[in-house]
């Protein structure tokens, strides 16, 4: 059921995640294609975000987190014993559900990541380019020295996107980036995504199926089942295919019911 992808940048090889005794997702096999947008959809609590956060080792921050299986990035296991998670996160950036600009100026929000990664070029230029590419330059070019928190929610989120692309990662992970935004801001962020697709690989978790259709090339549908011997629901990858196929010609009944809005 998983299509073979020739140019995979990230691959999950039988990934199972537990939080303490609680199993979150199990047995994920998944290939993320380079320079495409891949959407993760599915009902709440099915482990979409959990899988996403495995890609840049953000789950390391959670004490009870444990993982089995492999996540390969360019064929190298991200959870290998000698891997530096800091280097992983530099190469695989992330944009969060809630806009989280640093309590610094807009300029510093962009420059921070560049500086800590040893950026040698023209910082002003980098700030402008990044803000332009995140389609937020016009709104904040006159107040670069103001706090990032002074922007509106949608602008903050695009600032966070600019912050992520300023360090030039190969992959950008987006965890429901529009769930806290109004429709107009959402549209702007989606336009930004289209522009970014050329240079970046993007993985986006979304609850909004129209959004998945609009922005993604590939779609992974996750679902959750009640497992025996485990308290609560356990997520699994139900179907993964080109977005067109998932929405027009789903293989499984669950997928069909979900994408047509019958549950979720």
């Amino acid at each position: 059921m998983t299509p073979s992808i020739a140019d995979a940048i990230i691959s999950c090889d039988n990934v199972t995640v537990n939080y303490g005794a609680f199993a979150a997702v199990r047995n994920i096999f998944l290939d993320i294609p380079r320079h495409k947008v891949t959407a993760f959809i599915g009902p709440s609590g099915c482990g979409k975000s959990t899988v996403l956060r495995c890609f840049n080792r953000m789950n390391d921050l959670i004490e009870s987190f444990s993982m089995k299986g492999k996540v390969l990035f360019h064929g190298q296991d991200l959870y290998g014993p000698r891997v530096d998670p800091v280097e992983v996160r530099r190469r695989i950036g992330m944009v969060f559900q809630k806009p989280n600009p640093f309590p610094k100026t807009i300029y510093e929000n962009i420059a921070f990541g560049a500086r800590i990664n040893g950026f040698k070029g023209d910082m002003d230029e980098l700030v402008e380019t990044s803000l332009r590419r995140a389609a937020v330059w016009d709104e904040c070019k006159d107040k670069l020295q103001e706090s990032g928190l002074s922007l509106s929610g949608g602008q903050q989120q695009r600032l966070c996107i600019a912050r992520a692309i300023a360090v030039e990662p190969e992959v950008i992970l987006m965890d429901e980036p529009c769930s806290a935004l109004d429709p107009i801001s959402t549209l702007k962020v989606e336009e930004t995504l289209h522009a970014l697709k050329k240079n970046f690989t993007i993985v986006i978790v979304t609850h909004n199926m129209q959004q998945a259709v609009r922005v993604s090339d590939m779609t992974a549908f996750y679902n959750a089942v009640d497992m025996e011997g485990s308290d609560g629901m356990v997520g699994y990858l139900a179907e993964y295919n080109e977005t067109r196929e998932i929405f027009n010609n789903p293989k499984s009944k669950d997928t069909e019911e979900y994408v047509t809005g019958r549950f979720g």
Binding site: N56, M58, L61, E63, V86, E87, R89, R90, G93, M94, V95, F96, K98, N100, P101, F102, P103, K104, F112, G113, I116, N117, L149, C160, R163, A164, A166, V167
Partner: protein, 342 residues
């Protein structure tokens, strides 16, 4: 329909009385604050007790003030402030024999012990707070350590003083190399031979640590976890995000906690009195006995009379104003720097 039946008058009376009573009880707090300032100020200006405020008292100050020119018969027994003026703050002699008093030594001792203690306690306390908010250890162990540090705050000052006295020789041995090798520095200029200012500063560090740690830990815990994730997501290491994102975001609480600790250090009495040597001679060396305003009060108030009592109250007034200013600053800083982030 309901009729407009009034509640029984007894019930309303109880209600009103209760509300008024709480207001009265609340104003006891403000009255006490006012009373403390007034009393200490009064005793610093006049000799004699508070009852000389009463017009019918034989030594009433009003009588004396009315007969201002006739100082021989009805002289007001003026206290330390009229006697010594502001020169009190810059005069280092404290001489009960000649009744000549200046508080420079204890003021210097107060500021120096507090500054030294803060200098050591802030990095230690903030470092501990960071350690307790990072995931170095399992949560349960961290909670236990945090609780232990808080318990340290509960140990009475006088017990710490007793302990410090018992440990004195050990500390003196530790100080001696500083004197032997760095004795050319004025602050290490004298040989550590007994209770001294450095010892008092160290015991203050022990007392300030729990305050600074607790307040810093709380402010670091209040920084939204999204900020840390954001920093990590652009490739920040643990300590880059701590220094450049988490601490700046928690700075108001940390600075506020440090100011709170400073206020505490300025007024700390028992442990300092027991270990500072209570000398009123001004010395640049940290290894010399010295005194703080609070230790001066604890040490001398019992045997003082007349103008010396008033001089001690003057010193107490200085201490109160110092701690008052520090506490006001703390509140202003906390409000000013508070992070607007939700």
């Amino acid at each position: 329909m309901f009729t407009h039946k009034k509640r029984p008058w007894t019930e309303r009376l109880v209600d009103h009385t209760f509300i008024r009573m709480t207001a009265v009880l609340a104003s006891v707090v403000s009255l006490t604050v006012f009373g403390i300032f007034f009393t200490v100020g009064f005793q610093a200006v006049f000799q004699g007790d508070l009852s000389s405020l009463l017009p019918w008292h034989p030594d009433s100050i009003w009588q004396g003030i009315a007969a201002w020119n006739d100082e021989e018969t009805f002289g007001v027994r003026w206290g330390a402030i009229p006697h010594f003026g502001l020169g009190f703050l810059a005069d280092s002699s404290w001489n009960p024999v000649r009744n000549d008093y200046g508080a420079l030594t204890p003021i210097y001792g107060t500021l120096m012990t507090s500054a030294l203690a803060l200098l050591l306690a802030v990095p230690l306390g903030v470092g501990t707070a960071i350690f307790l908010t990072e995931d170095f250890l399992p949560q349960k162990l961290r909670t236990t350590i945090g609780f232990m540090v808080e318990l340290l705050a509960a140990i009475p000052s006088v017990v710490l003083g007793l302990w410090a006295m018992a440990m004195l020789n050990g500390f003196l041995a530790a100080f001696t190399p500083l004197h032997t090798h760095l004795g050319w520095l004025p602050v290490f200029g004298t040989e550590p031979g007994g209770p001294n200012l450095a010892m008092a500063s160290l015991i203050l560090v022990v007392m300030l640590l729990p305050i600074i740690t607790a307040v810093s830990r709380d402010s670091l815990n209040q920084v939204p976890p999204e900020l840390r994730q954001g920093a990590y997501a652009v490739g920040a290491t643990r300590w880059t995000s701590i220094f450049q994102v988490l601490i700046p975001a928690a700075v108001s609480g940390i600075v506020g906690g440090a100011m709170l600790a400073l206020g505490r250090a300025l007024g700390e009495t028992m442990a300092v009195t027991m270990i500072i040597g209570n000398s009123t001679n001004l010395s640049a060396s940290w290894f010399s006995p010295s005194s703080t305003i609070a230790s001066l009060l604890a040490n001398q108030f019992g045997e003082a009379d007349d103008i010396q009592v008033s001089a001690l109250y003057y010193a107490a007034l200085v201490l109160m104003i110092l701690t008052f200013l520090v506490n006001i600053c703390a509140q202003v800083i906390v409000k000013r720097l508070a992070l607007k982030y939700d």
